[in-house]
Each structure stands twice: as C-alpha cells, then as structure tokens.
C-alpha cells in the first residue's frame, strides 16, 4: 500500500506533466480556438453585460440587488474561481449570516441564520431554482451534487423566510446555485486541482453553439483521501459511557470519497421569443461511512444521483413572459449506517407567467405539482433506521402570486403569497410583504421593511421512520427512539420582521445593513420521557416548542481600480423556549465576521484572500456538544498565461490551521478531527 507521501508526489507530478504538455501548446491552442471561446454577448441582457448583480431567489423575478424584497448575498463565479475552493459549503462560509461546519472530509452542515444540521432542512437548497434537498431525511448531500464548481455562475444566499417564493422549508433562508448556461461557457476547459493530502479534483468541459442550438457537457472526477491519510482523523466521543459498546476505540477515519460527476445542458432557440432548454446531470459516489447513533457498520456508502429537466421559455410581448418546466430527481442511496437502501424519485411540473396587470405593476403567477416516490429497503438488521414497509407516494401542489408595485419613482411595494398542499401533512401558506423606499432621487440609498411568514414540513423520516433497536444507558436507562404516534406532526411555523438599508456611499463604496426578528413555533425535535418503573427512556419526535431569533448583518464593499475588498459582520442569535430544547439542529454562531479581498496585480496576476471568524457555541442535545470558535484564512495567487487561456493557481486554505476541531452533529455520539491547513495547486486551460 502506498504511503500518503507517494500518493501526493504521484499526483503532483501528474499536474506538472500536464503543465509541460499543455503549457507549450497553449498559445497555439489559444490562437486556434479563439473564435470558439467568445461569449455570445448578444444573448446577454444589459444588466448581465454590465455585470450588475441580478438576483432571482428573493422573489422569482430578476431584480437588481438594491431593490430586493429580502436580503441576498451573491457569490459570483469570479469569487468561486479565485478562491480555489473545491466544494460549495466551503465557499458559502465566507458570506454573512451563513453557518458552515465540517463534519468530516466529505460532509458539511450549512444553514442561514442557524438551526442547521445534517437532518435540518430549514435552509432550502436549490440548483437553478430546482429542489436539491432530499425530503426523506431533510438532507442536502453536498458531496453528491452533480454540479462542478467552475460551472457555477453565481450562488444566491437569501437570508430570512422566503417560503412565499419557494414553498416549504425556506424557513430561515434559501441557497440557490445558479449554473452557467451553455452560451456562457463556449469552448473547452480542462481544470485539475491537487492538494498536499493527495486529493484531486478534475473537471473537463466543452460548450458549443451552432445555429439555434447551444450545449455544454461537463465531466469531473473527485478523489478525496480520508482524515487519517491527511494527518488528522482522531475520534472523540460525546458519551464516554458508551465507548465499549460502540467499539469506539477501534474507529478509523473512513471519510474518503470518490465521485464521478456529469452535467450536460442544451438550449434550442426556436426564435427570438421561444427557447427550449434541457439538462441531465448525474453523480456516482462511493464514500467511507461514519458512526450514527452508535452504529458503525464499516460498509461503503454508494450513491447514484440523477437530475434532469426540460423547460420552455416564451416571451409573449415586451411585458409578458412565461415558462413551463419539468424536473426529475432520482436518488439511489446505500447507506448502511442508516438504512440498507433508500430510493427517492421526484417529479415536479411547474409554470410561471410574468406580466404587467396595470401600470407600474409587475406580477408573477404560477404553481407546481410534485410527486415524491420513496422506498426504503430494510434488510431486517437491527441496526437500521426503519421506515414503514413498502413504497409510498406523497404529493405536493403549490400556487403563488407575486406583485411588485412601483407606487412612485422612489417607493415600491412587493407582496408575495403562496399556498401549498401536501398530501402527507397539511395545507399551509407563506407570505412576504415588503416596502422599499429610495431616500434620494438617484436611488443610491434604499431602505426596506418586510414581514414574512413561512413553514417547514416534517421530513419523511420523522413521520414514518423509527430506529429499530434499543440503546445502552444514556441517562439512567435504556434509550428508545420511536416515531411520533399517529403520524400527526404539525408543520413548523415562523414569521419575521425585517428592516434593511442598501446604500451607495460613494462611487466605489457600498453598504448593506439588515436586521431581523424571527419567531419560530412548533419546532420539531425530540422529547424524552423516562418511565420511573422501568427506567426506560422513550424519545419521540415531537413539535416540542418554539424559539426566538434575532440579529443583524452588515457588509461594506469597496472597489477601486484593481482592488476589491468587502468586510462584513453578522450577529445571529437564537434562544429556544425551553432550556436544552432539542431541535435536531444547531444554533447559529452569534458572532461571525469576514474580510474578502481580491487584488488584480496586473493583467495576469491576481491575489485573493478570504477570511472568516465564527465564535463558539454550546449546543444542547442528548449530550452537550460544543462548537468551538475558529478563524479561517485562505490565500491564493493566480497567474494567467497564453493570453489568458492558461491559468495556474497556488493557494493555501486555513493558513491558521484552526478548523481541525471535531463537530458532533445531531444523532451522532462521536466526532472526527479533520485536517485544517492545506496547500494546493490548480492548473486550468481554456481553448
């Protein structure tokens, strides 16, 4: 078996060989393929040409950043590129109000304004507005998403409830990953990254346009070594009393992963008014497993995840446009640590029409129908999370209405209203009302006030699943996890009051301030009752109680000639109604701060820094789990060559080596130390 050093040396030499091979020919390639590499600027809107941030996730309508009905942070393709990062959660942590913690080398927990955890879908995750979160457990399998980093056009992070636009589970916020359209990535791309631990991330892409067709094909392979191989990997136990029973002392880090990813999209422009677009993406992953409620089967996790869509866009006239879209997601997951095999088939049909019902009004009306088919194949092992027998179907229908009314040149009102019916739970509604007022004629200073309501639907797992085994004593007696009796969990509900300011203080200086108070009710967690006669503790999923959340996020961005700097601070607090109330998730870090900068040193050299601080927090669950404070600083230096067709990035993430501490998520009794500081190199060629 090769050592870690051998693996690293081999992979590094591979990158150098690529550099020699392609570097010498890159100029020639660049010249030959220059025509293919041109973007079709004529397909872009004027805002896109100006690179004015346009956001769709706050209200389903393309809207300029200053006039949004909810606070949104945009991570651009350039931010992603120069960060050198290889996973989506890692780039998310450098944005205000976003909590990101790493569980191991594959898995992250991510949330906006808190209540985040691997089984907490209170932050809705979307790709191009299409659902990503798996409704069975409420999990986003970040590592399995069939989207490659260089294919991301931007990520929109909406803070606050936006259920009125997107339906259930946009409870504390939403993260919408917008991918590049085929005509935004014409020509070829070869990119490979290798780091000091021997992880490799390779991405190939080709995009082309011919006549009315444009298409792109992306393929990638990601190979991540485990924490042991990366010099960390030490387990810690949250419940020392269980160590022997769990076989804790024999645990080995198995957080490695190998992923094949494919993504293809095509567009057919029928005429100036009508466009078809199609896409299919697939990821095939194999990972080592992990401990869950004391179970550690040491069997690899196999995940096949396919996403497809078809969409028809039509512009009826200058003011009226519409689309109809189908998307399908198919997940086949062998995760013995939870259940033997779970499959999830999701079909969704949705439509939206945008029109002007009257002068100064812009409206959107739409809805969707969704069918989820779920099956869990239990193999009767006692170490499994059990579902109801057989396959079953659940349905969701939603209707929304959004109206934006420019009352005067400086005063705008926006109302959003949405009604959703779930076959397995209940009918519920969401809204968002916003008033925007420009303080000056040039509209450089805009204030916002909003009220929003949203809900979260209980996941399938807490409605229909149960753990099939007894656990050893935790607090005085046996611990049994059971489903809620009668399948009658209510939706979680929330409402929020928000106020914000977006201002252009000077030519190159902008300031955002957003404040909020959010009330959450009927939060689903675990309620434990101990029978004094038997000393058996029975825990059930329940609508336990509520919580209050409040805070503020502020960011200051400065751009002058060749320097871009943004600094931000977020205060996010959350207090549950009951002390030590179990919400199956984590509260936000109260204090978060960041500083991101980019220095275009000359035409070819770029220096990028990303810094984030998150303070520690005490979490109360079955056992007390503390989150530690950390500072993280990432540095990259990029150099372009061959007329910008080639690029080499060298970087180091977590320079301060402060992100190594284990994080114990809900449902876990152990946690794993992960490696922190990491040097890497990336070679990228475009042709």
């Amino acid at each position: 078996m090769s050592s870690r050093g051998d693996v690293l040396t081999g992979k590094f030499i591979f990158v150098l060989m690529l550099l020699v091979l392609f570097g010498s020919d890159a100029r020639l390639l660049a010249e030959q393929q220059d025509a293919n590499n041109k973007k079709d600027f004529f397909e872009m809107s004027i805002e896109e040409l100006m690179e004015v941030p346009i956001v769709v996730s706050a209200s389903r309508l393309p809207t300029r950043l200053q006039y949004l009905s909810a606070p949104v942070t945009v991570i651009t393709a350039e931010d992603i590129h120069y960060s050198g990062l290889t996973t989506i959660p890692e780039i998310l942590q450098f944005s205000p109000g976003v909590d990101v913690r790493r569980l191991d080398r594959q898995r992250y927990i991510v949330g906006v304004r808190g209540l985040f955890g691997i089984y907490s879908d209170r932050t809705l995750v979307l790709i191009d507005g299409r659902a990503v979160t798996i409704p069975i457990y409420g999990t986003t399998h970040w590592e399995n998403l069939p989207v490659l980093m260089e294919d991301i056009e931007r990520i929109e992070i909406v803070r606050g409830p936006v259920g009125a636009s997107w339906g259930a589970n946009a409870f504390t916020g939403a993260i919408n990953i917008i991918t590049k359209k085929p005509n935004q990535c014409l020509g070829g791309l070869v990119s490979t990254t290798v780091n000091e631990f021997g992880d490799t991330f390779t991405h190939l892409r080709y995009g082309h346009t011919q006549g009315q067709w444009s298409w792109k094909v992306s393929a990638g392979y990601e190979d991540v070594e485990d924490s042991d191989a990366a010099g960390a990997g030490k387990y810690t136990s949250g419940v020392p009393a269980l160590n022997t029973l769990m076989g804790f002392d024999s645990f080995k880090a198995r957080d490695w992963g190998r992923f094949w990813k494919f993504d293809t999209q095509a567009e057919y422009r029928v005429n100036e008014q009508t466009r078809w677009s199609f896409g299919a993406a697939h990821s095939s992953g194999q990972e080592g497993d992990f401990e869950f409620i004391g179970v550690y089967p040491r069997r690899d996790i196999l995940t096949e995840y396919t996403r497809m869509f078809g969409r028809l866009d039509h512009q009826f006239d200058e003011d009226t446009s519409a689309y109809i879209q189908w998307f399908g997601n198919y997940l086949d997951n062998h995760r013995r640590v939870i259940t033997d095999r779970t499959t999830h088939l999701q079909n969704d049909l949705e439509a939206q029409i945008n029109f002007k019902p009257a002068d100064n009004h812009t409206a959107s009306v739409g809805g969707n129908v969704r069918w989820d088919r779920i099956s869990a194949h239990n193999n009767s092992s006692t170490n499994e999370f059990m579902f109801d027998r057989g396959e079953y179907n659940e349905y969701w229908t939603g209707l929304f209405l959004i109206d934006r009314w420019a009352v005067t040149e400086r005063f705008t009102l926006e109302g959003q209203l949405r009604l959703d019916h779930y076959s397995a739970t209940t009918t519920d509604w969401s809204n968002r009302f916003t008033a925007l007022y420009a303080l000056d004629e040039q509209q450089n200073h805009v204030v916002r006030a909003s009220f929003a309501r949203a809900f979260r639907s209980p996941t399938v797992a807490v409605r229909r699943g149960s753990s099939s085994y007894l656990q050893a004593p935790v607090v005085g007696g046996l611990f049994v996890t059971q489903p809620h009796a009668g399948n009658t969990l209510d939706n979680e509900g929330t409402y929020s009051f928000e106020a914000g300011y977006t201002g252009r203080l000077a030519e190159n200086l902008s300031l955002n301030v957003d404040t909020y108070y959010q009330r959450m009710e009927r939060l689903i967690g675990v309620r434990s009752v101990t029978d004094p006669a038997t000393t058996v503790t029975t825990s059930t999923f329940n609508n336990v109680n509520g919580a209050d959340s409040w805070g503020a996020e502020t960011s200051l961005a400065w751009q002058y000639k060749t320097v871009k700097i943004s600094a931000w601070y977020a205060y996010n607090d959350l207090v549950t109604d009951e002390f030590a109330q179990i919400t199956r998730s984590m509260s936000p870090s109260q204090h978060k701060a960041g500083l991101n900068s980019r220095w275009y040193l000359d035409k070819d050299w770029t220096f990028n820094t990303n810094y984030v601080f998150q303070n520690g927090k005490r979490m109360y669950a079955t056992v007390v789990k503390d989150l530690s404070s950390f500072n993280r600083l990432d540095l990259t230096l990029s150099r372009k060559f061959a007329e910008g067709k080639g690029e080499l990035i060298v970087g180091v993430s977590d320079v301060l080596n402060e992100t190594t501490d284990p994080v114990t998520d809900t449902g876990y009794l152990t946690a794993l130390e992960t490696p922190g500081r990491m040097f890497f190199i990336r070679l990228q060629l475009r042709f």
Partner: protein
C-alpha cells in the same frame, strides 16, 4: 517543498501576449448598442416602415471588427438589425464634390437609428451632432466630452467593465424616448442647462 515547487512553476511560465483580435471591450460595446435598441422609442417618422430594419451605423475608424457578426441572424422588436459602416467626416468632406451634406453616405447616416461615433471623429463630434439634429438618431460614443458636445450616450470604462452615461437633454432633442430602466443603469445622467453648464 510543495509550495516551493508550485511557485517555481508559476513564476517560470511565459508571459502572456497582448490581445490580437477584436478586443473584448468592443465585443461588449457592440452588444450594448444592440441592447440599447430595446430601451429606446423612436419618433413615428423613424418607425413608419414596420418591416424596415433597425440600422446601427458606425462612423469613422471602425474598432468593432467582426464583433457584430452574431447580429446577422437576430431580430429586435420584430425587425432585422443591420450594421452599416461610414467613412469619417473629414474623408466624407474631402470626397464630396458638392456640399458634403448631400453626400450619399450622409443621407444613409440620417436613416440610422443608432450611430456609433468612433474616437477618430473626436474633432468632429459637435459637427456630426449638429448635422443629425432632429433626425431621431441615438448617438453613442466612447470619447471624453461626448455628452458635453451634445451626444446622447457615452461609454466609459470602469475597472475593465463597460459603463455608460446619458445626456437626457440630447435624448429629448433627438425626439427619442428612453426607458427609466436604462436611466437607472447609467453611471451618470446629465441634463444640460439652458444656458451654461450642466447638472448631473
């Protein structure tokens, strides 16, 4: 060792050469000109022929190269878009036997909907603007002082990004209507005062 090797490689890569083909800047500006059409309403006499093309003219030393190639197959507001290129004003004057205002190219320029005034025409901006006054033409340039000389829209570069500024008085003078959405995106909106100076 890893970092040292990487730095060695990055430092020894040959330096990039200057761009040789139509620059990205003018590809972008071409797309802006095309986009402007959607935000402008021309006077009736300019749009009387419903099926007629929308003409984008370029006067002077054309920096666009083949940047307008993709426009060939496109329509805006149901009309084809045609690109026409014209000699510089000085050359037109020199080649005119009679008064240059009767030069066929001047007649053709008057039919344009959008006219990009190239930087080679810097000396003649006022004359070109005065010549076309009242013809319902959106004049666009990328020359310092273009708006002050009476031009309608001027491109400026800001951190490698194309921005534009608008002279709303010139818009009115050209009998054009400009949508507020475009005004909002402008880096600077200039309104000429009746006698002296401007406010922005």
């Amino acid at each position: 060792m890893f970092l040292a090797s990487a730095l060695f490689v990055i430092l020894t890569i040959p330096k990039a050469r200057a761009d040789s083909t139509t620059s990205r800047e003018y590809q972008l500006k071409a797309a802006f000109l095309y986009n402007f059409i959607m935000f402008i309403d021309w006077p009736e006499e300019k749009t009387s022929d419903c099926n007629g093309p929308i003409i984008i003219g370029v006067i002077g030393n054309d920096p666009f190269g083949d940047a307008f190639e993709p426009v060939k197959n496109k329509k805006v507001k149901g009309n084809n878009v045609v690109i026409e290129r014209f000699k510089g004003l000085e050359e037109l004057k020199e080649s005119s036997e009679k008064g240059f205002q009767q030069h066929p190219q001047i007649e053709a320029i008057r039919k344009c909907h959008v006219l990009f005034v190239c930087s080679s025409e810097k000396k003649w901006i006022r004359e070109i603007i005065n010549l076309l006054e009242g013809d319902g033409i959106l004049t666009v340039g990328d020359i310092e002082g273009f708006l002050e000389a009476g031009g309608t829209i001027n491109f400026v570069m800001e951190d490698k990004k194309v921005r534009f500024e608008i002279n709303v008085t010139a818009v009115k003078r050209a009998k054009l209507k400009i949508r507020s959405q475009l005004l909002r995106l402008a880096k600077r909106v200039v309104e000429e005062k009746s006698s002296d100076g401007e406010k922005s």
